[in-house]
């Protein structure tokens, strides 16, 4: 008779992954879940409130406004950064010293820490000492990001475009470099126009990096916190208060841990949902083709 040797060694091999995932994702998330269903007064006084906080959060008009603002913001920067990034990538030199120089120049904004980016633009936009602000007032434009909501929006969007367009550009640049030279040669022989080369060769070959680029930019911009916090502090009024900022105000400013935790979970689910919808739509579009 054959005896089966019991061997549980395999569990030890899975253990490191299990521990890392537990500490990096599951435990923190569960803590938040824990807060979201309790009303906490002090470490010894707490009440289970069920879905009460979720109801409150979902009906909070301040959050509705922040959510709307957040979507407008994310879509605005996507609409600007993706085409702009493609254009920059198409214009970057491909050979010689110019290529490496262009790569370094384009990559510089990506290397700057986020709060520094906020500070740079805060100074840059000031009418008294900032280059941009001084320039605007010298040509007679009444520009003040600290008091005018439109100017504040403009500055926040401009800052993000400056900071993150290079990421899209670098992704597209690498995608473009992966297209073999013979494709361009074949297009020249076919007497195809510059537009046709872009439309039928470059764009199809860029699809994959663009999906990654759009997803990354969407998620990042949807979670944006540091730069607007440093630049405008969410103001003037609440005109540039995005989701993460209202979350922080609630959690740390007012120390409403319960509603803040419920809000965090809703926030997390929104990002997950939008990314999933976006990803599956694009994948299905690709399959249909």
């Amino acid at each position: 008779m054959q005896t089966k040797v019991e061997n549980n060694k395999a569990w030890f091999l899975v253990l490191p992954v299990f521990l890392i995932v537990a500490f990096s994702a599951i435990i923190p998330l569960m803590t938040v879940v824990n807060y979201s269903v309790q009303d906490i007064f002090d470490p010894y006084t707490r009440y289970f409130v069920g879905t009460e906080w979720f109801k409150q959060v979902m009906l909070d008009s301040r959050l509705h406004e922040a959510l709307l603002r957040q979507f407008i913001y994310s879509f605005t920067i996507l609409i600007i950064e993706v085409p702009l990034g493609i254009c920059v990538a198409l214009m970057m030199p491909t050979k010689g010293r110019g290529a490496s120089l262009a790569l370094i120049l384009v990559a510089i904004p990506l290397l700057i820490p986020w709060n520094v980016v906020g500070t740079i633009w805060q100074i840059f936009g000031r009418a008294d000492i900032g280059l941009f602000g001084a320039f605007m007032s010298s040509i007679g434009v009444d520009y003040n990001y600290a008091s005018d909501p439109t100017d504040a929006w403009l500055t926040v969007v401009l800052m993000d475009v400056w900071h993150w367009t290079p990421l899209v550009a670098l992704l597209c640049y690498s995608g473009l470099r992966a297209i073999p030279e013979v494709y361009y040669q074949a297009a020249r022989i076919d007497q195809a126009s510059r537009w046709a080369v872009f439309r039928y060769i470059q764009l199809p070959k860029l699809t994959n990096v663009l999906i990654i680029g759009v997803l990354l930019r969407f998620m990042d911009s949807f979670m944006i916190y540091t730069e607007p916090f440093v630049l405008t502090g969410g103001g003037p009024g609440s005109s540039t208060t995005f989701l993460s900022q209202s979350l922080v105000q609630q959690a740390i400013g007012q120390f409403d841990l319960g509603p803040a935790a419920a809000f965090s979970l809703v926030y997390f689910l929104i990002i997950l949902l939008v990314c999933w919808v976006f990803y599956t739509t694009i994948m299905n579009m690709q399959k249909d083709k």
Partner: protein, 362 residues
């Protein structure tokens, strides 16, 4: 439509890629460019297409100088080693693309696309995307794109290299048939002598940027002008053995020599290189004047139903091309028969000074 290259050279960063090539191609001709990798085949094709400009020399089409005319204004097609199609257009749209750019009438486009697709036997796949096809079908699509418009010149840059053996033979045969009825100039680059022989037409042998010889394929094969052409245009390469011709005999070394036959008598005494094709050396004598050579086996290389037998004697190496599968032990001693009346002779500069009588008659 004729294409003439006059003293064409191309120098890139001080390196000569194409060296003073003179070439004249007739309308309706099928021309093979034969050369090893880096011999300048692709560079020459790019010059013919107008993708690059020659550093020196002129390119004439129908007697008109087109040296500086860019590729966009010429009417040519090109098929590459890689399968180049528009990735997000269907096979139909891919084939139609050159016609659409030429603003052709929609009905005519449809007729031509279907006709060309049928000719290349890809008509069942017109609605698919190129990546949903096999390699052979993708290359057929690329070929259809090249053939669908009435190009004056069609260039093929090693189009069958990335296909498997069977597909290659199949497409090669079809290709030759496709060009029978056309009045354009077809130019086909390859590294393989067998492919050149199978395609027929004319062959131009290219080596290190220089055109060594150009003529009808069979003629170039049988009457190579020099030793490099002879070596390049045979698979396995022709055997080359140094020898000395005296008044009465040919001596390879002290032990191997034979009396001059009527054929070789015209050679003036001196040092020569003798060439003998691998398929002409046999394991049994075919004629009275065959020279018997004791040799040792290095390697029996079996390829399909043929055997390439590598052997050596103390003074030189030989390769035999035998039909059938032959098994030999390494170092086994055998006798081979050297056909003294099927020898090519090359002088010190490598120029051919003698070819076998039967080859001359052909």
């Amino acid at each position: 439509m004729s294409l003439t290259l006059q003293n064409v050279s191309r120098v890139v960063e001080g390196e000569t890629w194409i060296d003073n090539v003179n070439l004249s191609l007739e309308p309706g001709s099928f021309n093979v460019l034969l050369g090893r990798t880096l011999s300048g085949k692709t560079t020459l094709m790019r010059l013919m297409a107008g993708l690059d400009r020659p550093t020196k020399g002129k390119i004439l089409m129908n007697g008109v100088d087109v040296t500086g005319v860019p590729v966009r204004e010429r009417n040519i097609s090109m098929v590459y080693q890689q399968f180049i199609n528009y990735p997000n257009l269907t096979v139909y749209e891919n084939i139609a693309s050159p016609l659409r750019l030429a603003k052709m009438d929609e009905k005519e486009v449809d007729r031509r696309v279907r006709e060309t697709a049928a000719m290349l036997r890809i008509d069942p796949f017109l609605d698919r995307l190129p990546l949903q096809l096999s390699g052979g079908q993708q290359q057929r699509t690329a070929m259809a794109r090249a053939l669908v418009k009435d190009s004056q010149i069609i260039l093929f840059d090693e189009p069958l290299v990335n296909l498997d053996y069977k597909l290659r033979e199949e497409l090669r045969q079809e290709l030759r048939a496709l060009f029978k009825a056309r009045n354009c100039i077809a130019i086909y680059a390859t590294t393989e002598p067998n492919e050149a022989l199978a395609l027929g037409g004319n062959t131009a042998v290219l080596n290190e940027g220089r055109l060594l010889q150009m003529g009808p394929t069979a003629e170039v094969y049988h009457q190579p002008k020099d030793i490099i052409t002879a070596e390049m245009f045979s698979e396995p390469p022709i055997n080359v053995v140094p020898g000395r011709v005296s008044e009465e005999e040919v001596t390879f070394d002290d032990t191997v020599h034979f009396r001059l036959n009527s054929d070789l008598r015209r050679l003036t005494p001196g040092e020569y290189q003798f060439g003998v094709r691998a398929s002409h050396i046999g394991l049994v004598p075919h004629s009275d004047d065959d020279l018997e050579l004791p040799v040792r086996v290095d390697l029996a290389e079996i390829s399909g139903s043929e055997t390439f037998l590598h052997v050596h004697n103390p003074h030189f190496d030989l390769v035999l091309h035998l039909s059938g599968v032959h098994a030999y032990q390494v170092d086994q001693e055998i006798k081979v028969y050297f056909p003294t009346h099927k020898l090519y002779a090359f002088d010190a500069q490598g120029k051919m000074v003698h070819s076998p009588a039967r080859m001359r008659d052909q």
